[in-house]
């Protein structure tokens, strides 16, 4: 069940990659009717209607990330980018393939997940911090840092349910980034907050990157990815389309998007012409 494991020295072959995904496949059940109670379960079982409709959110993804690299993930909505980040942060277990992660992770996937609206900001700092795996002692020592970064000194003892969404984001970002993680996972979070705080977040992330933190970033903002990342992966419908240097992947992706848009435009025009032709008749 558990054991004492020796920390592997950095030179060891195993820890060459900080994130190592090997042929990872993630499977969901897409069954139209979700059977979530016993009554339906037995009824369906008797009628032999218990179906499992397979849906592969990720297929054979292989990804090897070295310490200190910054990776961007691009792809259209529903391509599997967030699923991939969830696999790396251990939230989802792959159906096939192996995942190995050799470092502490701070994942900023939808900030505010661990925030309890009934509790005060002070209580939330401790609750959310312990959810992220920090010890109480560590949070106490970093408490002032968190508060000053979030600029919420005045509201420390008011319940978070009265906070604006910007304030909540500030609070959770400050908690999540107080520890310098070895891997920082960011999923499209920097959309909230005013320009000033956004800049502060960027500064903090840049500071971490210069300190050797590995960054995994999902964003629809290609310029953000080009600015922060060195490598990129393009995913479409759960499959890798392209992996490589950020400029190449982003260019290819943007060309593809442009081509798709162009194709759509042409089709729309064709349709218009057809409609016009029908009307004329």
């Amino acid at each position: 069940m558990f054991g004492f494991v020796r920390d592997i020295p950095a030179k060891n072959k195993k820890s060459k990659y900080i994130v190592d995904l090997d042929n990872v496949t993630v499977r969901f059940n897409k069954a139209s009717e979700n059977v979530d109670n016993l009554k339906e379960y037995f009824v369906k079982m008797i009628h032999h209607e218990l179906m499992f409709q397979e849906f592969l959110a990720l297929q054979d993804i292989t990804l090897k990330i070295k310490p200190g690299e910054a990776w961007g993930f691009v792809g259209t909505n529903g391509a599997g980018k967030s699923t991939l980040l969830k696999v790396i942060s251990k939230i989802l277990k792959p159906y096939k393939g192996t995942v190995s992660v050799n470092g502490t992770i701070a994942s900023l996937i939808e900030l505010g997940a661990g925030i309890d609206p009934q509790l005060t900001a002070r209580e939330n700092i401790f609750l959310n911090g312990t959810i992220l795996g920090y010890s109480k002692k560590f949070i106490e020592s970093k408490f002032d840092d968190i508060v000053s970064f979030s600029e919420l000194d005045e509201f420390l003892d008011s319940p978070v349910k009265n906070f604006s969404s910007g304030m909540k984001t500030r609070l959770s970002f400050s908690i999540a980034t107080v520890m310098e993680p070895e891997i920082l996972i960011v999923d499209e979070i920097l959309a909230v907050g005013d320009a000033l705080f956004r800049k502060k977040c960027m500064d903090r992330m840049n500071h971490m990157l210069s300190g050797g933190t590995t960054l995994l970033l999902v964003s629809h903002n290609i310029s953000d990815i080009q600015r922060l990342c060195t490598k990129a992966m393009w995913i479409n419908r759960g499959k890798t389309v392209m992996t490589g240097e950020v400029s190449e992947v982003c260019t290819a992706y943007q060309e593809n998007i442009a081509a798709l848009k162009e194709k759509e435009r042409i089709e729309r025009e064709k349709k218009k012409q057809l409609d016009a032709g029908k009307k004329a008749q």
């Binding site: 558990f2 920390d7 020295p9 109670n37 379960y41 277990k93 509790l119």
Partner: protein, 285 residues
């Protein structure tokens, strides 16, 4: 970095891993307690007042029916009730603990054992508060009777609390896991607990069932709730008869062993099933 250090590395997803999150456990428990008591005028007093009120009503209703042969009926009743209430509320809250934290579990990795564990633990603290009601009733009856109803044997109560805690934990894991896949488990379990309440000899004497031997057997020997209630009564209600208690030590020890076996078996079952299915939770919540 040539220095290698030994580090406690529990396997991911194992029950032991939950201990790595002990700070989170205390945060979750204190959140439950704060939210429960913060906005009520009487605060922690509610934990004492609620069983007192229920006990008063039940004493009035049942003392004439069942209480004739039971000395100090209010204590007898309260002992049974607070133990049953501990099992009932802790498992009932643990049941929904995974599904209620769906948002959190979808976005961060935490040992999933934490959530039922926190609910059962906060219920245990509630239980300890509600023992205040027991002290009040015992003091009150001591004054009326003119004899002290307290004894040093009363201090053995943690023996029972540990058994009930482990048992509820096991059952809580099992229910929390089932609730993820079958949401109607909540209603089924509610129905079961009503039957369980009546089968646990809380407001009557189990000896009254001797007309139907198999029912008495089920209540006294099979029903884990009764096994814990019986021990708790031996310690609190019978405790004052020090000699009698010593005389009954062998019987108490039997109940203690059976109760502990039940608790450990339930815990093992709960952990086993919970652990086996926990990776699928995320797909169903």
């Amino acid at each position: 970095m040539t220095k290698t250090k030994l580090r406690f590395m529990p396997k991911e997803g194992s029950f032991i891993e939950a201990f790595k999150y002990h700070d989170l456990l205390s945060q979750l428990v204190s959140r439950d307690l704060k939210l429960k008591y913060r906005r009520s005028f009487l605060g922690y007093l509610w934990s004492i007042l609620n069983p007192l009120l229920v006990m008063t009503v039940m004493t009035i209703v049942f003392s004439t029916m069942f209480g004739r042969n039971l000395p100090n009926f209010p204590i007898y009743l309260l002992c049974g009730r607070i133990i049953f209430e501990f099992i009932n509320t802790s498992t009932g809250k643990a049941l929904g603990s995974i599904t209620d934290n769906a948002v959190l579990l979808k976005k961060t990795y935490v040992s999933k054992f934490m959530f039922p564990l926190a609910k059962v633990t906060s219920s245990m603290i509630d239980f300890v508060f509600s023992m205040g009601a027991l002290i009040i009733v015992m003091a009150f009856l001591s004054i009326i009777r003119g004899e002290c109803l307290f004894s040093f044997y009363n201090l053995l109560f943690p023996l029972v609390v540990i058994q009930v805690y482990l048992f509820s934990l096991g059952l809580g894991f099992l229910l929390a896991e089932l609730h993820v896949f079958f949401r109607d488990i909540r209603y089924i379990y509610n129905a079961i607990t009503v039957a369980w309440l009546y089968l646990s000899a809380i407001f009557y004497d189990a000896n009254m069932l001797k007309a139907v031997p198999w029912v008495q057997f089920v209540v006294e020997k099979i029903n884990p709730a009764y096994i814990y209630i019986k021990q708790f009564r031996d310690i609190i209600w019978m405790g004052r008869n020090g000699l009698e208690f010593v005389y009954n030590t062998r019987i108490f020890a039997q109940y203690f062993l059976v109760g502990t076996a039940y608790a450990l078996a339930m815990l093992a079952i709960g952990i086993f099933f919970f652990r086996r299915k926990q990776d699928k939770f995320i797909l169903y919540i």
